[in-house]
Subunit: 204 residues, 2 copies
Amino acid sequence: MSKAEYRIPKSPAGLKTFNKIVNTGKKLFAKNGFQATSINDIIAKSKIAAGTFYIHFDSKLALYLYILDLYKVSIRKASALATKGLTTRYDIERAGIKAFIMYAKKDSLAYRIIWESMFVDFDIFRHYYESFAEAYIKHLSDYVENKDLRSDINLETLAYVLMGISNFVGLQIIFKSDITDEQIDDIIDQAMMILDKGIFNIRH
Amino acid sequence: MSKAEYRIPKSPAGLKTFNKIVNTGKKLFAKNGFQATSINDIIAKSKIAAGTFYIHFDSKLALYLYILDLYKVSIRKASALATKGLTTRYDIERAGIKAFIMYAKKDSLAYRIIWESMFVDFDIFRHYYESFAEAYIKHLSDYVENKDLRSDINLETLAYVLMGISNFVGLQIIFKSDITDEQIDDIIDQAMMILDKGIFNIRH
């Protein structure tokens, strides 16, 4: 994990080049995967001089980690924005799940870039979800305290259950190419009903 | 999707070679991904003559699809075996989730091979989960009829919610390298409690 530094340039021209490399990396990693993408592919597709890549990134791994981090930050931002001002955990959870799904629907590379981390280095993949779960647990625990959430649920398991629901209901939705906003809302309402009322007629 | 046929040989020697190719493919696809693995890599690692590959498989895609199908069939078999004789949907769901997780824990290549399909061809990835969901829905609908499951839940959404829980609670478990069988059971019980009682103190 050493030699994986990046340097964001300060000049507008430098920044333009930096972003060009990032966007090319996103596309190539998402299309062909990390292993099958070479720095030379990225350089050629970005139409930059060979040395320019290394001014900004130490290595292909540095570029990949920068892109993965961009996703992590912007997914969290989308969720924070969508849940702003909401007070009940029900409303926050619904808005958070919807924000993630709309993000993944809009940026079709998101799933690929994130799940590709499994092939880059399993520890990166593990760390991505463990740190996501950690932040989730912190948020959830506030709502156990204020009694919105049941107090007898293990919050780590709840965090993974909720991430699983966001990711897979997200797949259900992106698999439907001509889905309407209303249909998306209906599906998310169904997922919330499962979280609200459980799935069985008789409680066990 | 044409030119993606495979031929299973009848002789024990042929079968041995066939399986050698399959196992090499599994390892290389899981390690480097589909795009970065060439037929030549597979031939060299399998220690077979170049022509031998094509006796059994039309192409690299044919080998990948054969391996993906192996996973699909054996995950379903593991689930069918684990749920045999169980009668309530609660017990079946718990055993099914556990069977999937234990399968993924034992065969660490499973997640990689399945999620790699996204890079091979998005339609293959989509079809993998859509056909899984379809089979799930069929099973679930029997338990709506016998009133184990609530009748007001959309079963497609429920299928994706349950697949999401299996996959992500599965990640939670395989991320812990030294987890005991008892701890695994506790985590699955927690996930089942969420499905049973919901997550909120007050129903909405």
